[in-house]
């Protein structure tokens, strides 16, 4: 990171486009969902990157989705056969951007950093570029509109551009240029429609990384549930003369909203922009945009002003932006860390996350918990993902996809709880109880022979380690102020998802 503190501002130079565009070959491998102790078949991904200034050498800028799960990266340029080993210097998954350094210092000798088109625009002609079969390919494109886009590797919302183009098979971080300056990087492509992360955002992000050396990644989400105030009836009931602002329904512990916004508040303005009843702000030249895109202008640690209506009075408050990402959800999203699991007696337990296939009924219900906030006493959902058949687990073979409630009477909130609970058998048995479901309530195993069976099964099925505790969930900080009960006209509480505390 210290290296990045020395990054220099981009030089103003008019170089051919191909001098600023290089190819990255990324070998990558994700984790096997059903057998989380192994990785999937390694795959090659070919991505584009642009050269940006750095010290002592320039670095490469690409989208974070291109380096996700990377095991090895090499860079090539000018369509030449040579490849130079490269590595991820800095990755900001909320921003969906990464800086890649090249081991060979001479790599950049005949390359020039690109210039950024920092002025926002939402129409006009652009050029989409990439190296293909040793040739530099330039395709025409036309910006059709601005959209509120979700980060492909995070939960941040930003202003994205849609580009109409006839390029085939794009979306691999192809640099998009306007008048010789970088207009953005492609993040997706289907048929004639390309999604582009615009240079306005790249510029803000690079400035921040240059200023702080990448110590402040982007915050992600605001951490609250909102409801639009579209109908005049709802506005009237809330005491507004006409629809405006957005109603706060729930505030998540650990998010930026926690401690600033309260349920029943009406958020009227954020970061200097008035919010309408649809939750939109007006931002030229893009037009109406969902207000949460304003978070993409700041890294975590910045403070944004908010204006809200609470109990009929207008309050002007400061909201410090805190990191609140998919890792803070009960069913975590966008994970690249090795999944937490535990195998005991052939029973494979793992933490439920967005990679898990949710076709099974019980888990389909759990899938509903996507985008539900963690609370201090419920951080993760542990599921029995499969049973590796062995004489030891006779009677349970074929059961799968069941959410665990307790083991030996102890509540299970993480795989590490499971490991602990298995140290305390009940009268010679291990008793696994599941959340209520119509398929199976309880599994009983012989405690005396568990270790021996686990060793045998691990050997037979090729499991190198019987458990991995995984990365602990992020610190949620103190509980949020929820406001006086029944404030704002007494919005009713919703029923809880979970049985009992």
């Amino acid at each position: 990171m210290n290296l990045l503190a020395l990054l220099l501002p981009a030089a103003l130079a008019a170089a051919p486009l191909e001098d600023g565009v290089v190819t990255l070959k990324v070998t990558w491998q994700s984790w096997e969902v059903g057998q989380p102790w192994v990785k999937t078949n390694p795959t090659l991904r070919v991505a584009q990157a642009v050269v940006v200034d750095g010290r002592p050498e320039p670095v490469l800028l690409t989208t974070a989705q291109m380096v996700a799960f990377a095991t090895h990266i090499r860079a090539s340029k000018h369509g030449e056969p040579g490849e130079s080993p490269a590595r991820v210097l800095y990755e900001d998954r909320e921003a969906n951007l990464a800086l890649v350094s090249v081991d060979d210092p001479t790599f950049f000798r005949d390359l020039e950093p690109v210039r950024l088109a920092r002025r926002p625009f939402a129409s006009g002609e652009v050029s989409i570029t990439r190296w293909r079969d040793n040739q530099f390919e330039i395709s025409r494109g036309r910006v059709s509109r601005a959209v509120v886009a979700d980060s492909a590797t995070g939960v941040l919302k930003y202003v994205g551009l849609r580009v109409q183009t006839d390029i085939q098979g794009g979306g691999w971080s192809e640099p998009v240029f306007v008048g010789g300056a970088l207009a953005g990087l492609a993040t997706g492509h289907s048929q004639s429609d390309m999604q582009v992360l615009p240079a306005t955002f790249l510029g803000v992000w690079l400035d921040e990384v240059r200023a702080t050396g990448g110590m402040r990644p982007w915050a992600g989400q605001i951490g609250a549930v909102f409801q639009e105030i579209r109908s005049p009836a709802l506005a009237g009931w809330l005491g507004l003369e006409s629809p405006r602002g957005i109603l706060v329904r729930r505030v998540a512990q650990g998010g930026s909203a926690c401690g600033v916004l309260r349920p029943d508040d009406i958020l009227l303005a954020i970061d200097g922009h008035e919010i309408d009843g649809d939750g939109n702000i007006r931002q030229p030249p893009y037009g109406l945009l969902w207000f949460e895109v304003l978070l993409s202008r700041h890294p975590a640690g910045d403070t944004v002003p908010v204006r809200l209506l609470r109990d009929g009075a207008v309050h002007e408050l400061a909201m410090p932006l805190r990191t609140y990402t998919g890792a803070s959800w009960l069913v975590p999203a966008d994970r690249t860390d090795p999944p937490a699991y535990l195998m005991a007696g052939g029973l494979v337990f793992r933490e439920f996350d967005e990679t898990y296939p949710t076709w099974a009924t019980e888990l389909r219900i759990l899938g509903q918990l996507n985008r539900t906030a963690q609370t201090a006493d419920r951080r993760r959902v542990v599921v029995l993902s499969s049973v590796l058949a062995d004489p030891y687990n006779l009677g349970y073979q074929g059961f799968a996809d069941l959410p665990v409630a307790t083991v030996n009477g102890r509540p299970i909130d993480a795989v590490s709880d499971l490991a602990e609970a298995l140290e305390h058998p009940l009268e010679g048995f291990h008793v696994v109880r599941f959340l209520p479901n119509p398929r199976l309530n309880e599994i009983v195993l012989d405690a005396g022979t568990l270790d021996e069976a686990t060793r045998r099964i691990a050997e037979a099925y090729g499991i190198p380690a019987i458990w991995r505790p995984g990365v602990p969930p992020p610190d949620l900080g103190p509980a949020c102020e929820q406001g006086p009960a029944g404030a704002g006209g007494g919005l009713p509480a919703t029923r809880s998802w979970w049985p009992g505390p």
């Binding site: 579209r230 109908s231 005049p232 219900i365 509903q368 008793v431 309880e442 599994i443 998802w497």
Partner: protein, 477 residues
């Protein structure tokens, strides 16, 4: 020339002398039912009109036995006698949707007088030859197919939506239209054809004599009570560790009770954790089956022996003691598919509310939210000791200026209306009609969303919306 050719063909067909119709075959009739099945997607409409044919046969008492699904949701029912071109009006005497059997009779007395009532035989054996009679694919002439008994099993009936009973599988072809026809061995009826498995070849099912007798005995008093069920969730005890923890002795077998519905007749008698060792004297294996003449059947085949309201002698292992209990059997609290009924609903200012029931879930399951399915399937399991009250779903919106801006999703579980808890359509009506305030406020479970209507504007638009969408009545409670 074409005329001549036609004559020639007719002559050729008529040439061999037709064999005489046997008395047994004369007793097989063709039923034509005009039904009107309610559509839960448009609960205010009377339903779709359809015409379908099936088979039936004459039984004692001048009546015709057929399948429930042949005569369900009937608006008009006629039958044809074998070899007779004249349709006759019929009416339903009794209908058992859970076992898919029905009894009908001619409106005109004496019509079946010359016909033989087909006698009911005994339970067929594996490999026994059987012959089916019926009118497959709506044909007007009786068709018969032959095969053997290929399997005897407890299977779920499609018509009931999953109620399981003893049934017999045969390789004799059973096709649409065969439904309700007799399956005969020798000169006795050994079953009533009722369903087939489309993806498999030569797999048809018929309802065997014990189930038919149960139905006929049941309806003898003029009302149909149905087959009892146990309403408990059971877990197999194939695991040796689970058996030891449950306290079973070496060689002892049974199944563990995991959940007893608090409204079921067995509540208070059976408890979660009990191990069922035997039912009506039949020893239960660790997978819940019992042994009968060299094969194994699921325990529902034991319950099929009993009438509604009876008790079944049950041996239970509870906390180390073996208890002999009389477990009362009654109507299941888990509803089968609904027939002979119309959907319940309330429309207010274009918002359509329905109760969360089996038909709603069956009709909407692909669209209904997980929240709705959760309420339907899991809520009761999570509160095993108390009966969970029902709930009302805001199913959809009939768009109109008064409701178009409420910005709501469909298939929402209603939690509160005007600050009153809503569990039934009656609760909803009371909450709406008892509200003197300027707004109606709807809050939903699971989603953090509140919907508000201006009461005066909603009341004013209510009638107009009903007329616009041709909703005849604003409620059916």
């Amino acid at each position: 020339m074409p005329f001549l050719l036609l004559l020639l063909v007719s002559w050729c067909l008529a040439a061999p002398a037709a064999p005489p119709i046997r008395p047994l075959e004369r007793s097989v009739v063709r039923l034509t039912n005009t039904s009107q099945r309610a559509d839960w997607r448009t609960p205010w409409n009377p339903g779709r009109i359809a015409v379908a044919t099936g088979s039936g046969f004459v039984v004692e008492g001048g009546r015709i036995l057929t399948n429930a699904h042949v005569v369900a949701d009937s608006r008009n029912l006629v039958f044809h006698l074998h070899g007779d071109a004249v349709p006759h009006d019929a009416r339903i005497v009794a209908i058992g949707h859970d076992c898919d059997l029905a009894l009908v009779e001619p409106v005109e007395a004496g019509l079946l007088d010359g016909l033989r009532a087909l006698p009911l035989g005994e339970m067929p054996r594996m490999g026994q030859d059987v012959t089916t009679f019926g009118y497959p694919a709506g044909g007007t002439w009786l068709s018969s197919t032959r095969g053997t008994v290929s399997r005897i099993d407890v299977i779920a009936s499609v018509h009931s939506g999953g109620a399981t009973h003893l049934a017999v599988q045969t390789d004799a072809a059973i096709n649409p239209g065969n439904s309700g026809g007799p399956v005969v061995s020798g000169d006795r009826v050994v079953g009533v054809a009722f369903q087939a498995v489309g993806q498999l070849e030569n797999v048809g099912y018929f309802i065997p004599p014990p189930i038919v007798r149960h139905f006929l005995d049941d309806v003898a008093d003029g009302t149909y009570d149905g087959f009892p069920r146990l309403d408990v969730l059971l877990a197999n005890l194939d695991s040796p560790a689970a058996r030891r923890r449950a306290g079973l002795a070496e060689g002892e077998t049974g199944v563990r009770v995991d959940f007893v519905h608090p409204a079921s007749p067995a509540a208070g008698v059976l408890e979660p954790g009990d191990v069922l060792l035997s039912l009506d004297g039949e020893i239960l294996a660790n997978d819940g089956t019992f042994s009968v003449s060299d094969q194994r059947l699921q325990m529902q085949a034991v319950l099929d022996r009993f009438r509604m309201g009876a008790s079944v002698a049950t041996r239970v292992l509870r906390a180390g003691s073996r208890l002999d209990l009389a477990v009362p059997l009654g109507r299941s609290v888990y509803p089968d598919r609904a027939y002979e009924t119309r959907p319940r609903y309330v429309v207010y200012a274009g918002l359509v509310f329905v109760p969360l029931d089996r038909e709603y879930v069956e009709t909407m399951s692909s669209k209904a939210d997980n929240d709705v399915l959760y309420e339907y399937t899991y809520r009761q399991l999570e509160t095993p000791d108390t009966v969970v009250p029902g709930c009302v779903v805001l199913y959809r919106r009939l768009d109109h200026a008064v409701n178009a801006t409420v910005g709501m999703a469909t298939h929402l579980v209603v939690a509160r209306v005007n600050d009153r808890e809503v569990h039934t359509l009656e609760d909803l009506v009371a909450a709406l009609e008892g509200n003197p305030g300027p707004y109606h406020v709807f809050a939903f479970a699971h989603v953090d969303r509140v919907t508000v209507l201006d009461r005066a504007a909603a009341d004013a638009a209510h009638r107009e919306i009903l007329d616009l969408y041709a909703v005849i009545e604003d409620r059916r409670l």
